[in-house]
């Protein structure tokens, strides 16, 4: 039983280590297509990022990272701050 549990933990751990992140940042100040384009350009330039989507209605920037890579909260806040926007919250799921 112990071996079985250990195997599950190891497999789960390995899967988590190589999986991608889906990050949802709630952002203040996004109002138009020019805002969205600027934000998309900023994140597409990051090597860790696979896709980025801006939802003006829900004030969300959704970033999907490449397999095994991530973007930490401080980098997300810095990138959006430098682009001229304020991050309210960051939520992520594997």
């Amino acid at each position: 039983m112990k071996k079985y549990l250990l195997t599950i933990i190891v497999i789960f751990g390995l899967t988590s280590a190589v999986s991608a992140d889906t990050i949802k940042a709630t952002v203040n100040g996004m109002v138009c297509g020019f805002c969205a384009t600027g934000i998309e350009k900023t994140f597409r330039a990051q090597p860790e990022v696979k896709t980025v989507n801006v939802d003006l209605e829900n004030k969300l920037v959704t970033i999907q990272t490449k397999q095994g890579q991530t973007l930490d909260d401080s980098k997300i806040k810095k990138l959006l701050g430098n682009a001229g926007y304020s991050v309210v919250a960051v939520a992520r799921q594997k």
Partner: protein, 180 residues
């Protein structure tokens, strides 16, 4: 970004490169009309001085400035111009105010100001066509029509902006802008 404005003040072409998100450097050409037909050619520098981000909108203060040459008839002079733009934008409302100062050597020194209000009749997302109904008032102390009102419609799709209007002094306005 490339922007062209054709309105009752004349024709303007701007080509700008945004080297950091808050600053752009470029090239500005303006052929003035409705008064002295002055041609201005300058490099320009645009900067976002301050932004306040709100849950449903943003306040901004920009400065745009240029220094170059102005030409009128056979007279070419050094010129300087600077403008401040304060605006509030949400997905529903738009308000702006822009005072502009122009010094064209001994050709002309002028000041004009512009205010705009706009409303979006429906809330569009990034991938939708955005439509705005706007009203613009220009005040030109140096020109014949001191106050000029221009109702206009703005269409906005992703990085393409197009405006068309008709001014109280009977000029068609056609503006467009593309961001790269």
């Amino acid at each position: 970004m490339v922007m062209q404005e054709n309105d009752e003040t004349g024709h303007t072409l701007s080509l700008d490169y945004t080297f950091i998100p808050t600053n752009a450097f470029g090239f500005y050409i303006k052929q003035e009309e409705n008064g002295k037909e002055i041609l201005m050619v300058t490099p320009e520098f645009n900067t976002l001085l301050k932004r306040w981000n709100l849950p449903d909108g943003q306040w901004n203060i920009f400065n745009m400035s240029g220094a170059g040459l102005a030409h009128y008839r056979d007279n070419t002079q050094p010129c300087l111009w600077t403008a401040f733009l304060a605006d509030y934008e949400s997905r529903r409302w738009f308000f702006s105010y822009e005072p502009r100062f122009v010094w064209d050597g001994d050709i002309e020194k002028s000041f004009w100001q512009r205010a705009r209000v706009g409303i979006a009749p429906y809330l569009a997302n990034y991938n939708d066509l955005n439509t705005w109904i706007m009203f613009q008032v220009d005040h030109h102390p140096a020109k014949h029509d001191h106050f000029v009102a221009t109702p206009l419609i703005r269409f906005f799709y992703k990085t393409y902006l197009f405006e068309v209007g008709y001014s109280s002094n009977q000029h068609i306005m056609v503006n467009w802008q593309i961001q790269f």
